[in-house]
Symmetry: C2
Amino acid sequence: MSAPRAAGEAVDNPRRPTLTQVAELAGVSLKTASRALNDEPNVAEATGARVRQAADLLGYRLNGIARELRRGATSALVGLVSGDLANPFYSAVASGIERELRQHGLQLVTANTDEDAELERALVEAFLERRVRALLVVPSGDRHEYLAIEGNRGVPFVFLDRPPDGLEADAVLIDNAGGARAAGEHLLSHGHRRIALVADLARMAPQRGRLDGFVQAMDAAGNDQWRPYLRTDVHDVHRAEETVRELLTRDPPPTALFTTNNRLTTGALRALRGHPAAPALIGFDDFDLADVIGTTVVAHDPVAMGREAARLAHRRISGFGGPAQTVIIPTEVVARGSGERAPA
Amino acid sequence: MSAPRAAGEAVDNPRRPTLTQVAELAGVSLKTASRALNDEPNVAEATGARVRQAADLLGYRLNGIARELRRGATSALVGLVSGDLANPFYSAVASGIERELRQHGLQLVTANTDEDAELERALVEAFLERRVRALLVVPSGDRHEYLAIEGNRGVPFVFLDRPPDGLEADAVLIDNAGGARAAGEHLLSHGHRRIALVADLARMAPQRGRLDGFVQAMDAAGNDQWRPYLRTDVHDVHRAEETVRELLTRDPPPTALFTTNNRLTTGALRALRGHPAAPALIGFDDFDLADVIGTTVVAHDPVAMGREAARLAHRRISGFGGPAQTVIIPTEVVARGSGERAPA
């Protein structure tokens, strides 16, 4: 997937005084200023006082997380192990985690498994060895491998997007069935019966939930005209585009499409570009520019998902010993035009 | 920025045998199977042989990086410190780094500074303490703070997107001036003179490069009709949308827009939605669905950027001691319609 970039994103706050300014005002080197403010040895008492006075004058504050990290004795790090760096879903989740952790003086460190269950386990162990305070995991596959980990050293685990299997742990999941049911009902209410379902790997728990929810909506309406248009195990943008092209050649063609994640929606949009009588389309997952394109989606909040996971982790770090909790992130259909087209 | 998600992204390869299957075939617990394959103590010789035989039969291979990580003595980790997790540019760069590192048995670990120079320095130190083999940094601001780091313990640094300042280090940068010059020339060649420039914070090096390149193109053509339409320090999607709306109310309005990063392009697209006589538009940075929307962009390859940075880091890890190298990632104008509209 090609990815956008925004340059000039990472900047320091211009109003925040820097260590360089403190050092200059105190007439010492940066290294000395840093040592003095971090209470490190080998700084003369008078020098230390001068540096602290300069810092006070400028309103310079040592960053709390920075100081914690520098102490090193108790780690301020929380680990996130997830599947795929190039997937913006994970970065949105991670940014939610990060923001929440920062409020508690904790810093997120992430590593990706590239969909490899064995590597996932090794990364979990590597993080545990490096003294993280908690571990958040988007499991990549065979969760049972976790049982082979030599004890978690009392470090709490939180699972994201997929339920823990064979492990008592906190989890944050999306209301996959509810969201897909709502999408199905939305298309039915606009008069569609021949609704194509384009889904990712059916053995993934979130995908199974979405399939189930969609079928529930069809069954409740007594509609089985969607069945010839079911396509599962479509795993990337390119195959989604091909699959939708193939569906459009059927006789009769489907009058509506439901794509069960953002990549599949992207593929569908490519297939439908310039189509004279495009079928209705609803995609699971909101995405950048869906408003500009006018794509109706089943939206949820991945940032909130990360925030909830961080909250659960922090509660455990703070000593909470109660039973494992599962938080469900709600979904909603956001109508933007493509899902409201009538059958051709 | 709202972020798309693709569920079912992270899956293990169905054809790849799992440790669970090895343990089942050998008739031992997962923990024992793991210990045997990792040559850990406390496994009876006969048991170890049975596990290895089962692994051979199933074609089970311990992941190389997983094994390295587990050994722990020499770390297989490489650190990336960058600005903002929610920015897909960073995840694309990181995925390029990750893929290249994997080929050398190295694992990427990332942390984000949230645009805080002091935190950036602490994270660099925290990674050094945790024995990373190399450090890749997208500097967030006042680079001089680096000089206060207590020696880099021989760990090589590679800078991404922004040149190192006050430090001899390898770097991977984008051809910002060249790309922006090409965008300016493209709009000029389609007859535009009143070209609005919507730019991010002018003090960021990549933004300065883009401003310079655009001005070079205008100067070379003897055109100064763009000057009333210069807008800098536009730092988010919302302000970009407002800025473009304001530009369109000018008399006369600009006939073309050049937005200097993806977020600003998103804002412009929102402002232009449904506009009866939209000006031409070129955005710096390619983005998902630009092909569907028909947006002309100055494209470059953030994944290649990450790959080059990882290559430079690996060369240093392997003992290369030559002078610091800077790799420039090229850009190209990708015409998709919006940049080829004639002046109204």
